[in-house]
Symmetry: none
Subunit: 306 residues, 2 copies
């Protein structure tokens, strides 16, 4: 039973096999030949004295031990690539990759404009952009899944080592399709009336943290969508009501397709933030923040888009 026989390469192989569903497909992905994978897995199983795949003929399925090795091993793999990144950053001062999460309520064009400028300046730096929602946005930062979050909303989670900077003022409104029953109301709509109708909600991408559903009108039926673009279209089609960024639905308001509902305590403007970890001293991150907060980035000429 050899100690420390588990290599990262064998973890990569197990990961690929499970992701692709077969040794053959994994081999193709890894630029190898299936027998090479058999060899590596066989060797690992032999040295660990543990069966990782239970072979049912040509179909191999992970044993419980294998399953556990994979889930934990994936963390090890991502820790490795994260460490490589950090080492490069310490060595050069510049990161090789910057990961950004954009809060779903935000227009992506100002950010994309800043990224465009940034990638022109630094062609060697990879930029990853993802959309996150509510708690998920903050969580992605605190769990180090991203380096910068853009357009996140209050409350700021009281987590050590997070720095914030104001980003922009947002205007959120509760809106429905003009054809929706709620669209027939004149004047104020009570919350009681709202609760009779279906609410469209973006599924909070947060996995572990406390739910921070800021806009839950309890009791009523809900419809969950995956991102803001879907939410807007769902509401435009009259599936339900919900809070939307004013800027995003302006065209539909102008065309009369959608209507703003007057609800007490809603439709307020609020401030959004950008945030990052103090520990992250990357020059690329710093430059990107500058570009993002510079006046040119927030040029309001173009149309709203996700």
């Amino acid at each position: 039973m050899g100690a420390n026989s588990l290599t990262l390469e064998s973890l990569e192989i197990i990961d690929a096999i499970v992701r692709r569903g077969s040794f053959a497909a994994a081999a193709k992905e890894l630029g190898k030949v299936p027998s090479a994978l058999s060899y590596t897995i066989g060797k690992l199983e032999e040295r660990l004295e543990i069966t990782l795949f239970s072979r049912h003929g040509r179909k191999s399925v992970l044993t419980p031990a294998g399953k556990m090795l994979l889930t934990e091993g994936r963390k090890l793999l991502s820790a490795r690539s994260h460490l490589e990144q950090e080492v490069r950053r310490v060595a050069t001062g510049w990161e090789t990759r910057i990961r950004i999460a954009l809060e779903a309520i935000q227009d992506c064009t100002p950010l994309l404009r800043a990224i465009k400028q940034f990638t022109d300046e630094h062609p060697a730096i990879e930029v990853h952009l993802n959309e996150e929602v509510m708690g998920g946005t903050w969580e992605s930062l605190s769990q180090d899944r991203v380096d910068l979050i853009v357009g996140a909303t209050h409350p700021i989670p009281q987590s050590q080592g997070i720095r914030t900077e104001p980003y922009k003022r947002n205007q959120a409104v509760i809106a429905v399709a003009a054809s929706h029953p709620l669209g027939q109301f004149w004047g104020k709509v009570s919350r009681g009336e709202l609760s009779k109708h279906r609410q469209v909600i973006i599924h909070d991408s947060s996995i572990i943290e406390v739910p921070r559903s800021s806009e839950m009108y309890s009791e009523n039926r809900r419809f969950y969508v995956g991102n803001m673009a879907q939410k807007i279209q769902a509401q435009r089609l009259g599936i339900g009501f919900g809070t939307l960024p004013y800027e995003a639905i302006k065209p539909y308001l102008a065309s009369g397709e959608m209507k703003i509902l007057e609800v007490e305590g809603a439709n307020n403007a609020f401030d959004s933030l950008i945030a990052w970890k103090v520990a992250n001293q990357g020059k690329g991150l710093k430059r990107l923040r500058e570009l993002l907060l510079s006046p040119e980035a927030s040029d309001p000429q173009a149309s709203f888009s996700y």
Copy 2:
């Protein structure tokens, strides 16, 4: 700049070099020859495009990047050996984590006593305990969110692969605060009378399955609470009536703060169960069940608590 060129072996080598103070000494420790270490380090530096050791003649010292690689890399190394160890435990039938849901009506002390014994025997196994209610308890098991449910009540959902074992006999009573209007009745209380008052209900933690509200007196107003402790306090304060475990409110009955209502078809004793998945053959789970059902665990000395 090859990605993922950092191997655990090279980390072991760097670690040994720094611990031993020289390539030569490290080579001796690792059963290799110094030039082999030079080769590995050289290759890593080349693929990372980063100098890890700054060579001052025959003395090599870590660069800042190298230092950071070592401190973080050591964590990777220990994570690897920890993972290997855990995989071995799983392979031999011992799980690394056992998740338990306790039905809210149950006193938690017998379970905690069993868990205490269990964690003493198996310090490496993590135990997670949650309180669930009604359908939520069964659901957490059938959805594999927990490995064992304790004190669940009939009916047993007809789901394949669930094994049960009798746990204990419970006595549930409908009770109110002595100051509550219903507390003024003498003798039997009709269901019609009950329905004029507010009922305190623990919010069913079930998400998808059919509501199994075994105790719904329709029509009447309700007050929802999150757990049994809140429910008892709510009823003690006279907010409403509801079914409570007899053992839990004994002190309040004795002090005259609360009163049992005589309602036809209510206040019965019933049997509760523990349940798990047949597929789950974990040795830890088996042992925990033994401890839980052994006579010592159900020692009725201590007071009731949640």
